[in-house]
């Protein structure tokens, strides 16, 4: 039965909505007011609608049965996507601790390597020119402050 990705997704979503609905009971409210003026009123209405739609999705998935041709991602593709995500989050952390411009160079180099680019010239040029462009546009023209860490 769980060989159906829509069903798996719908069950996960339903579980999340139920937890969020339960959490709504912990919101503060001043007791003397009508139900529609409390902070929990609208989120509960929205979550009920979401649960109803998820219920429909579950019924549709069960009716449809198991996925016939599930396209599975090969390991290399999966690794590329996961590495890109890790590089992106690492870039965020790098901005805080190292500084934006240094992190941009490292991020671009790492991402291009993760994608399988082997031309050192392309990697070095892109990794060096991008921070210069960002510094020029954001710092010099737009006067936007960029996060700075221990470096630049």
């Amino acid at each position: 039965m769980l060989n159906n990705k829509d069903l798996r997704m719908a069950i996960i979503l339903m579980a999340i909505f139920i937890v969020l609905y339960i959490i709504s009971f912990s919101f503060q409210s001043s007791g003397a007011v009508a139900s529609h003026t409390t902070a929990s009123f609208f989120p509960r209405v929205v979550l009920l609608v979401a649960m109803f739609l998820t219920g429909i999705m579950i019924i549709q998935s069960i009716r449809k049965g198991p996925d016939k041709m599930s396209k599975k991602m090969d390991d290399r593709t999966k690794r590329r996507v996961v590495l890109t995500m890790i590089c992106a989050f690492g870039f965020g952390l790098g901005c805080v601790y190292l500084g934006t411009l240094v992190s941009i160079t490292l991020f671009i180099g790492a991402t291009m390597l993760a994608w399988g680019v082997r031309s050192a010239r392309v990697i070095i040029l892109t990794a060096l020119l991008t921070p210069i462009f960002i510094h020029f546009v954001f710092n010099k023209i737009l006067l936007v402050q960029l996060p700075s860490g221990i470096l630049i």
Binding site: D6, Q28, S29, H36, A50, R80, W115
Partner: protein, 497 residues
């Protein structure tokens, strides 16, 4: 008329004119690259506009919208890969014509049709938006609630093919808007003790995450991609006779595109397919469609650009976005301190009319740039995605940080990107979530105000004419996919019988 003249004079100021040019140029470059869409471009450009005055900032964004909608046709014609989803129908006849060695003529026809559709829709925008705003100024909370629900219900036909997934996406978007301090009681919701979440989740990081970061993760899935263009581009101008032969198609598609654009949540993609189908249906030579006929390029290209002006009508006059891109533009208006809706025409009339004129100028400008620089824009397709994608992710991070000089926004953007990527792999589209997020606040406030003002009476939504009309339209909108499905099923059964 006076305001239009003032708007014209404002746009002719060097800085504003330059912002139109930059927007159109950026849009054409972005649109020409397969995988980079108009909402992504507008979301990415917003951080660049923070330091600008509202007129050049918003004008640049709408110009990018116009430029990107046309730019999508360049890749569609030259490499059979639509630069934007709205250009998908252009591949049907654009690419075959390019294969016949007439890529220049195909690009020229796409450019002229796009400009005509765009200009027509801007004229309708200028005429209709103030009238709509004047009607909407009389709306109270029940009407706004019903209108926002109507806007949300229209997402059933947006992006993904599943009506339930679209509606669920919209509902998730509305839920995200609930995070943070409750506007009426002042109590905090779903902040989980995180101080940053007490202010709520702002649109822009989520939009950048869903539209841009998600797309980069999807590009990573596809791996390294290089585009090879082997077609010579020459003779960009179709003959006068050829243009005259498609004049009815242009008129029809302009009307279709503008009308589809006005419908909340329906955008250029739907318009272009309807434009193509109708061009084929009314053509004297429908058998030529798919083999590289000019009507097959003019129909969808005119319609998708006409949808840009159409989509701006509900966005500006009602505060209800007409498409995924206008949802992002609506977010940008809020960032620049303007509340889209009828009051915008009173409080910020100078900005509104300057933006309208800016859009008009943008359409004229991409006609010139498109006809003059098609060869140059086609070279953009050669930029490999492994160079472009990391740079776009850098812009996502830096631009999001610049919003409030806060890393929390960056984390929200990256998490939205990962969630958006995962949801896309399960068939959920980003646009319904963004529309839900944009409309969520309006829906909650107008619902609760209606109940407070009208003594907790839920029937108030059915007793006021405008509100009732929107609710009927909502029900019709929700039932339409079911009705269409039923008619199609019946047709197939009849055929097989």
């Amino acid at each position: 008329m006076d305001q239009l003249m003032v708007g014209f004079m404002t746009i002719m100021e060097p800085l504003n004119f330059l912002s139109v040019f930059v927007g159109v140029l950026g849009g054409m470059i972005l649109g020409a690259m397969p995988g980079l869409t108009a909402p992504m471009g507008v979301a990415l450009l917003i951080p660049f506009t923070y330091g600008m005055m509202p007129v050049p900032a918003i004008t640049m964004l709408v110009s990018l919208y116009c430029g990107a909608t046309f730019g999508g046709s360049i890749a569609a014609i030259l490499v059979h890969a639509p630069g934007t989803p709205a250009a998908a129908a252009t591949t049907f006849d654009g690419y075959p014509l390019a294969q016949k060695g007439q890529a220049g003529k195909a690009l020229g026809m796409a450019c002229i049709s796009s400009a005509i559709g765009g200009l027509f829709s801007v004229v309708i925008l200028i005429l209709l938006a103030p009238v709509l705003a004047e009607i909407a100024i009389k709306f109270g909370p029940p009407e706004y609630f019903a209108l926002a629900i109507f806007g949300l219900s229209m997402i059933s036909s947006l992006g993904s093919q599943s009506v339930v997934k679209n509606l669920l996406g919209g509902t998730i978007g509305v839920f995200i808007s609930c995070v943070g301090m409750d506007a009426i009681s002042g109590f905090s919701r779903y902040d989980f003790g995180v101080t940053h979440l007490m202010d709520g989740i702002s649109f822009i990081p989520v939009m950048i995450g869903l539209f841009a970061a998600t797309e980069i993760f999807r590009q990573a899935e596809g791996g390294i991609r290089k585009v090879v263009i082997d077609r010579k581009i020459s003779g960009l101008l179709p003959t006068w006779k050829e243009i005259k032969s498609v004049k009815t198609t242009l008129a029809r598609s302009s009307l279709i595109g503008t009308f589809i654009g006005i419908l909340p949540a329906e955008g250029g993609t739907v318009a272009s397919f309807i434009g193509y189908n109708e061009a084929k249906r009314f053509s004297k030579t429908p058998e030529k469609f798919g083999t590289g006929c000019l009507e097959g390029i003019a129909g969808p290209e005119c319609a998708n650009n006409a949808a840009t002006g159409g989509a701006m009508i509900p966005t500006m006059a009602l505060g209800i976005p007409g498409s995924g891109t206008t949802a992002v533009i609506l977010g940008a208006l809020l960032v620049h301190g303007m509340r889209p809706g009828p009051l915008l025409f009173i409080q910020n009339a100078d900005v509104v009319y300057a933006v309208f004129i800016g859009m008009f100028v943008a359409n004229v400008m991409f006609l010139g740039l498109g006809l003059g620089g098609a060869k140059v824009f086609s070279q953009i397709l050669r930029v490999p995605n492994y160079v472009l994608s990391p740079i776009i992710l850098v812009l996502c991070v830096v631009g999001t940080y610049a919003l409030h000089n806060n890393m929390a926004d960056v984390w929200i953007m990256l998490i939205s990107g990962v969630i958006g990527y995962k949801m896309k792999s399960y068939g959920f589209a980003a646009a319904p979530i963004v529309l839900g997020l944009v409309l969520g606040g309006l829906i909650e406030v107008s619902l609760r105000r209606s109940l407070i003002v009208f003594d907790n009476n839920p029937f108030v939504f059915f007793t006021r004419p405008w509100s009732l009309a929107f609710i009927i339209l909502t029900v019709l909108g929700l039932c339409m996919p079911l009705i269409i499905g039923w008619i199609e099923n019946r047709g197939q059964k009849n055929k097989s019988a």
